[in-house]
């Protein structure tokens, strides 16, 4: 075998200029199809950080035990069935062993602060956990864990614990640990919540368990509580519960009564989708900073008068309720960023007519207000729209909701020397504010793409404002690729 430096150069892990093993401080050997490491790997004694993820390693050489400086090792997505023994002798601070086939927690160094063992086959967090006194973050999600040893109570530095996707039937003993801030126990089989009133948790996720009844009190520091997907019929909330809560979610439970939360003036996100709630109380008006309210798929016929006081509300999900006629007006009066009242089935994508030009101008005005290069001029834009309408090589599509124009996009053909045929240039893609995030833009682009295919265009191209991150992401998600070209223009 070649010497260790040549081996690393071959793997493109170090530069040819590196002459001594002691110069190698950080190594990224991820995705190198390694089944084992070089026989002289132990010579890299100055390593500080080592990434061996996405290989086929099943063990590590014992010579690594002299790696005194190694603090971070990434071993995710390998073929480890056991935690390598050598790790016990290294003063590691962070180990990532996720996506392996590890069955037992063993050989872990006492110095460890961040430990990721998610997506393995561990069935028991045994007493050895109690010795990891430096542990701050422990992720053992998506294993087969059904018991957690009481030793976890001694981890006074533990701040984040993720045991999502296991087979736990009880909340682990550490829920009241003094420094524990985040606890994720979703997707387990837990049915009883112990008294957590004195805990210092800031985030608790117990979604997708077996809770039928929950009693909540205290928890002064709690900011986020997620109870989704539990067969929850009863929710007893004391007045002193979580005074600074800002996110509460109990989706897909069996709640019949709107929960009475004490932190009304702090909650920004409230999700009660998919319950059996019949009434929103007048106290909803006290949620003065509420930004997202999800109450869809319930049994609510009427909205309270105080609904209009939700001045911070941006997103409202209310579909799937038997709202009586006229209630929708209370929602439309709120000028929301998004509401699901718009049924996409009532949105028609069609080619524009002259009578649509006035509404199209309004949309273009919105678009030009976002694009620094353009200034809106109704007269010029009207002339341009008419020219496009009378040009057989151009298409204007509009999205109409109950006849109202809420979206616009244009396409013109050009001859492309690069593609050796006709290309389409898409411009002026805009959707009215209230109707965004519904897929209308996507449907307009698909409509134009279909026309382009029919006309045997070789490709489509468009220009988007580089500062419009939402638009750039939208096109990327639809498979558009960015180019290295810079758009320039010259005005006569």
């Amino acid at each position: 075998m070649s010497n260790i430096l040549d081996w690393l150069i071959d793997l493109e892990a170090i530069d040819v200029s590196v002459e001594q093993v002691s110069d190698v401080k950080r190594l990224d050997l991820s995705s190198c199809e390694l089944e084992k490491l070089h026989e002289d790997f132990g010579l890299l004694t100055q390593l500080y950080s080592l990434n061996l993820s996405d290989n086929q390693l099943s063990d590590l050489p014992t010579s690594m035990s002299i790696f005194e400086n190694l603090g971070f090792i990434d071993l995710r997505s390998n073929a480890f069935e056991r935690i390598p023994e050598v790790l016990y002798n290294i003063n590691l601070k962070s180990i990532n062993l996720s996506y392996n086939k590890i069955k037992r927690m063993e050989n872990l160094p006492f110095t460890i602060r961040v430990l990721n063992l998610s997506n393995n086959e561990i069935s028991n967090v045994g007493s050895e956990i109690g010795g990891l006194l430096e542990l701050r973050t422990f992720n053992a999600s998506f294993n087969h864990i059904n018991t957690v040893d009481a030793g976890i109570m001694h981890l006074s530095n533990l701040e984040i614990l993720n045991l999502e996707g296991n087979y736990l039937k009880e909340i682990p003993y550490c829920a009241q640990n003094p420094n524990l801030r985040q606890l994720n126990l979703s997707e387990n089989m837990i049915s009883t919540l112990p008294d957590l009133s004195d805990s210092e948790l800031e985030r608790l996720d117990i979604s997708t368990n077996q809770f039928e009844s929950i009693y909540l009190s205290g928890m002064e520091d709690l900011e986020e509580l997620i109870l989704d997907d539990n067969p929850l019929e009863e929710l007893h909330i004391e007045e002193d519960f979580a005074p600074y809560l800002n996110l509460f979610s109990a989706e897909g439970c069996d709640l019949e009564i709107f929960p009475n939360l004490g932190a009304k003036k702090h909650i920004t996100s409230l999700s009660l989708s998919g319950n059996k709630i019949c009434e929103i109380p007048e106290s909803i008006g006290e949620y003065t900073v509420l930004e997202t309210f999800d109450i869809d798929d319930n049994e609510i016929p009427l909205l309270p008068e105080s609904f209009e006081k939700l001045s911070s509300l941006q997103k409202l999900y209310v579909k799937g309720n038997p709202l009586v006629k006229g209630e929708e007006a209370k929602i439309l009066a709120l000028d929301l960023e998004y509401s699901d009242l718009v049924d996409l089935q009532n949105v028609e994508i069609t080619e524009a007519e002259e009578k649509d030009i006035k509404a199209m101008n309004k949309l273009l005005e919105q678009l030009f207000s976002l694009e620094k290069d353009f200034e809106y001029d109704e007269e010029k834009q009207t002339i341009a729209f008419k020219m496009l309408m009378h040009n057989s090589d151009a298409t204007i599509v509009v999205a109409k909701f109950h006849g109202l124009v809420v979206g616009l996009s244009t396409m013109q053909q050009v001859i492309s020397t690069a593609s050796g045929g006709i290309s389409g240039v898409i411009e002026d893609v805009v959707v009215q504010k209230t109707y965004r995030k519904l897929g209308i833009g996507s449907r307009m682009i698909d409509y134009l793409s279909d026309i382009a295919k029919e006309k045997s265009y070789k490709r489509l191209q468009l220009v988007a404002d580089k500062n419009n991150a939402k638009a750039l992401h939208f096109y990327m998600k639809k498979g558009w690729k960015t180019t290295n070209l810079q758009v320039m223009h010259y005005t006569f």
């Binding site: 997506n119 979703s186 997707e187 997708t208 989708s273 996507s442 998600k477």
Partner: protein
Amino acid sequence: MATEAEILSSEICECGEKNVAEAIDIFQHTELPFKKAKKLVTECNKNCCRQPLLKLFDMVYYGKFDYDEIHRLILIRNEKLKKMIQDIKG
């Protein structure tokens, strides 16, 4: 190892009876956040197929797909459901 075509046609959600290809299509055509986009696939409030769908949602967002990873997560989900059913039966 399953082929890409086999993975695309495999069921990712029992409740909504959708395969991987259908879920991708739904995610590509919505701008809703994950929880709401998931509901378009599952047509229910359950979370049993959350993990593979969350991964797929992220893949759609970044435009890069790892079908083997999706396949692996579906298998894990199926295995877990089987174990839970066995557990309930005692």
